[in-house]
Symmetry: C2
Subunit: 220 residues, 2 copies
DNA sequence: CCGCATCCTCATGGATACTG
DNA sequence: CAGTATCCATGAGGATGCGG
């Protein structure tokens, strides 16, 4: 009984006829879902990936990328500038379970940032996930500037979405540290608690339109 | 740079200020989500857990249960008959991300069962997940008998749900091997393909009411 | 039996160095 | 830049023991 716990590609399988177990066979190993998270906003080079995922060993990253590719989750694109890693269509569909898992884990952010690493890129995944279910008509747009990156959070009748604008600054921009932005989105901070630690430029009413009811207990 | 990659309970943290990464810090280690899957239908004893999760080492299971308890996902209940492990309210909320992950991984079941382990209990999680979004008015009920367990799949205007009846047999019962049932639910089998490998008792029209459109290309 | 703790072995992960 | 090679630390898996 030493065989058949392995599969052809060499990873350790649970050996269970269960969709969840099979999914975990493929993306459950350490770093895998974080690699996918990095690639969700768009393709990245190997070194970009490595520098975003502080702490991953270079051999591990290489091996993970290989098996993710073998399993049809990631594809290696040969660009003029070199190699880029991108998600396949199926790999990109991990967004839904990952957002659900992030929503479940959001309370764990309440302990604050500590000395954890942070990339504003992660917020482009986190904000729509945390604001899941929020809609607004007419649509509202709020700029959010954190750690040097300006992104635009848009909420319309379909829900929230985030983009990183090429040029042009939205009318309202909230400038704050990551934990303040996350605290707002996760409902751990009220809007005026957040405002004591943030800079708001433009119309503040958009904040009330997008952030959770839990944060709206006092008017802005 | 050897510290702060660990946390108080001893598990390895990604050290990232990101809800997904923090969730994975807590449930991302091997076996954790499968333990939660076992507990979703209801509390279990240590030995039941161990026999359901073939391949888990006893020391690992004990340690995982300890950290899951320390993290507020599992609680230890002292019953008259002994110790039972149950999910906390927060732990039970993992159902949503787990169902989403199972839905994503469902195509991986297409390779068939092979010699993988199987427990009919797993279907009580998988069927509602795979039939997510399906509704029926008026409500329909279909008995499904696999591997010796009879469960009742009910679909109403709220969606699908599964229960294990104490007594009383539903009017329509489909008796089939696990891979046939899963194939139907995941859309990998058409209804009449499935029927060549299954026994149907009662009204077959309920099958068309509950199983995915992909399986309905030919009338039953 | 149940609910683990201990011991041992080997596969996997992590850090660093090195190379086409 | 994009990895491979190497070495060491750690974690997983299996067998066994042991008090209740």
């Amino acid at each position: 009984m030493v065989d058949n716990v392995k599969r052809s590609t060499g990873y350790r399988s649970y050996g269970q006829f269960c969709a969840l177990a099979r999914a975990l066979d493929v993306v459950g190993e350490r770093w895998n879902l974080l690699i996918v998270r990095e690639l969700l906003p768009g393709p990245l080079r190997y070194t970009e990936l490595k520098s975003s995922l502080a702490g991953v060993a270079t051999n591990l990253l290489a091996e993970r990328l290989r098996t993710l590719e073998a399993n049809g989750i990631v594809e290696r694109r040969l660009q003029d500038s070199g190699v880029a890693y991108a998600l396949t269509a199926w790999g990109a569909q991990l967004r839904e379970p990952m957002e659900a898992l992030g929503r479940w884990g959001a309370p764990l952010l309440a302990t604050g940032r500590g000395d954890d690493a942070f990339r504003p890129r992660w917020l482009t995944l986190a904000l729509p996930a945390l604001l899941h279910g929020v809609t607004a008509t007419p649509a509202v747009e709020l700029g959010i500037e954190t750690d040097g990156l300006l992104m635009v959070l848009r909420v319309d009748s379909d829900g929230p979405s985030v983009s990183v604008p090429a040029g042009g600054r939205p009318q309202s921009v909230l400038t704050a540290a990551p934990d303040v932005v996350v605290g707002l989105a996760a409902g751990g901070l009220t809007i005026d608690e957040a405002l004591t630690r943030a800079k708001l430029e433009g119309d503040g009413r958009v904040l009330r339109a997008v952030f959770p009811a839990a944060a709206r207990d006092r008017p802005i």
